[in-house]
């Protein structure tokens, strides 16, 4: 079991070296992510007078809360050695189903339907991957296509507007004790993920499944249950984020969220999750989310075009990810 415990800390994959080198070395290391974040915050505060205000902090947090929630789910999926490309499709289909129910439905029914759809789609992914042992890349690619096609078929390509339902809008625009609801939900999701990944029962099985599935199975872990759980959670997170973002926009768009899965994947990887499985942490994912939020905010304040931002974001991920992976053998 000691091996499984060790994988909680990505640093064990680096042999030798000082503690500092270790913290910097593996998968970017949480310490290096923290330094990047601090550097961004300091340079932002120096360059732009409005950057270090509480108002701007809320702007940053609200803008990345959705991606952050998904990155937490994605990190858990990646820790099991799988991948979930269907999050954008699930977000679209579940909100569109909510949109169809909007005219006559009660708030509980609409919001319940959205979340339930996400959960069911996540479970379908999980069953195909865990029970049928199909490649998660292909399965979730297919469910992504199927979900967004169904969303367009159900809505006939028409957008719907949840403006008459304040409970729906609350998910994007409301506040709890001064904290915007998206930010509160992100914090809640981070807390849940922290408890799950840190727990002796589920957390250990999670890392064991991705670290060495065969060894985990031989030592009595039912890895299919773990896989099913993470895909269900990822699906639920996708529906929740669909709800948040549609509420922020006041607009349920069957053609929305294009490319969201890749953004989320980039954040998860920036957070130190390795696609080979067994490695990744909630702490890293949260830090990565904040880094991306700060970069986008800074580039916006500097008036950099959206397309240049794509290039810069790519380079930042490369800079954080490259030194860490160089210590490991690229088997895949």
């Amino acid at each position: 079991m000691s091996d499984i415990q060790k994988t909680h800390n990505p640093a064990v994959f680096v042999r030798g070296g000082s503690r500092l080198a270790r913290a910097f070395g593996s998968g970017g290391g949480d310490l290096s992510r923290l330094f990047v974040l601090i550097a961004l915050l300091v340079s932002g505060a120096l360059l732009f007078p409005g950057f270090a205000s509480p108002g701007n902090a809320m702007v940053i947090l609200t803008s990345v809360a959705g991606v952050g929630i998904l990155a937490l789910g994605m990190t858990m999926v990646i820790i099991t050695g799988e991948i979930d490309l269907s999050v954008a499709g699930i977000a679209v289909l579940s909100t569109v189903i909510g949109g169809v129910l909007l005219p006559g439905g009660s708030p509980a029914m609409v919001i319940g339907a959205v979340l339930l759809t996400g959960l069911v789609l996540g479970l379908i992914n999980g069953i195909l991957v865990a029970a049928l042992r199909l490649s998660s890349l292909i399965v979730t690619l297919a469910t992504m296509g199927i979900a967004s096609a169904l969303a367009n078929i159900i809505s006939r390509g028409q957008a719907s507007y949840p403006n008459a339902m304040p409970e729906f809008l609350w998910f994007g625009r409301g506040a709890i004790a001064g904290l915007p609801v998206p930010v509160a939900l992100f914090l809640l999701a981070a807390a849940v993920a922290l408890v799950l990944t840190g727990s002796a029962s589920f957390g250990r099985r999670l890392y064991a499944t991705g670290g060495n599935a065969r060894a985990a199975e031989l030592s009595g872990v039912q890895t299919w249950k773990v896989r099913l759980t993470v895909f269900a959670l990822s699906g639920l997170a996708a529906a929740l984020v669909g709800l948040i973002e549609s509420a922020r926009l006041g607009y349920i768009n069957p053609a929305g969220f294009v490319g969201l899965e890749l953004k989320v994947l980039a954040v998860a990887v920036l957070g130190g999750a390795a696609l080979s499985g067994g490695v990744g942490s909630v702490r890293g994912a949260v830090l990565a989310t904040l880094i991306i939020g700060c970069i986008n905010n800074l580039l916006n304040q500097a008036g950099v075009s959206f397309y240049m931002q794509q290039v810069v974001t790519g380079l930042v991920i490369l800079a954080v990810v490259a030194p860490g992976f160089s210590k490991r053998i690229d088997v895949r």
Binding site: L141, A142, L262, V269, L275, G314, F325, D330
Partner: protein, 339 residues
Amino acid sequence: MSIATTPRHRGPAIIPQLIGNPLLWLLVLILALGLMTSPVFLSGNNIANVLRNAAVVGLLATGFSVVLLTGRIDLSIASVMVFSVIAGVLLTTEAGRYLGYRWIVRGNTFAGPEALAIGLCLASGALLGLLNGLGSVGLKITSFIFTLITMTALRGVSYLITNGAPVYYSEGLMRWLGEAVFFGLPVGFILFLAMAVLLHLTLSGTVFGRRLMAIGGNEKAARYSGINTGLIVIAAFVISGFCAALAGVLFTARLMSVEPALAQGYELIAITIAVIGGISLAGGTGSIPNVLLSAVTFSAGLNLLAIWGIATWYQNLAIGIALIATVILTRVLNKAKPS
């Protein structure tokens, strides 16, 4: 396993191989359905259209498959496809400006030396493949991540250097590439066919090809038996980049223009075609002729759905279901087969 069985795919065994191929039967089924339900489906023009589409997505999928065979993935192909054409055209224009010629005329229409533009386009595709290869081998970053980064960054750069505006290119050689037909086969498809045959012969008949398949089969074993795995993986990425650029040229020839927003999501079509064509994502197993057949079947199927007047959404639904059905079928068949 795959190394030992590959040579047997050639020679007289090809006929029973074809008959036992479920993809071929799917294609026959589509053709039969088309013949029964539509007077135009099997017309020369429509077949040429199907083959032109097959050439673009097929070339993408073929290069992509070579990378998959090494156990890696190249998500950047769709971005490379668009970026390399833009780069070829803009570099040529820039060179013209340097020499005192004006090669962008009349509202962003390209009218410069075509051999140079197309040559630069293919070269930039190969160079970007080299970049992907060096990144994932040299920096040891998982190819999924590295090509995800190049995919996003190249899309951004394409917008930046064009300001999002289309470049029109419909003269001479480009028009010929888009329109010419020999013996019922469009030029683009002939190029695709030639590329597929070349790659198939390389993979099944040369030392390089055997080594590439060996890397996908068992990379560690390949490395320990003295194969320079890094070099071969880089070569696979270069092939993928080159194929993507060639697909980009054919795509531009069909649309008579190129713009940065084009071909988004084509990497997913390439994965679908490769998987339906039996290329394993784990590497080491699969054959290029099957990918060719898969590309033609895919295009014919979509074309038939379009002729039936079925909305694009249902077509996307069909693609997704076909993908899942393929992997489930493969799983079931593999279980049924005694190993």
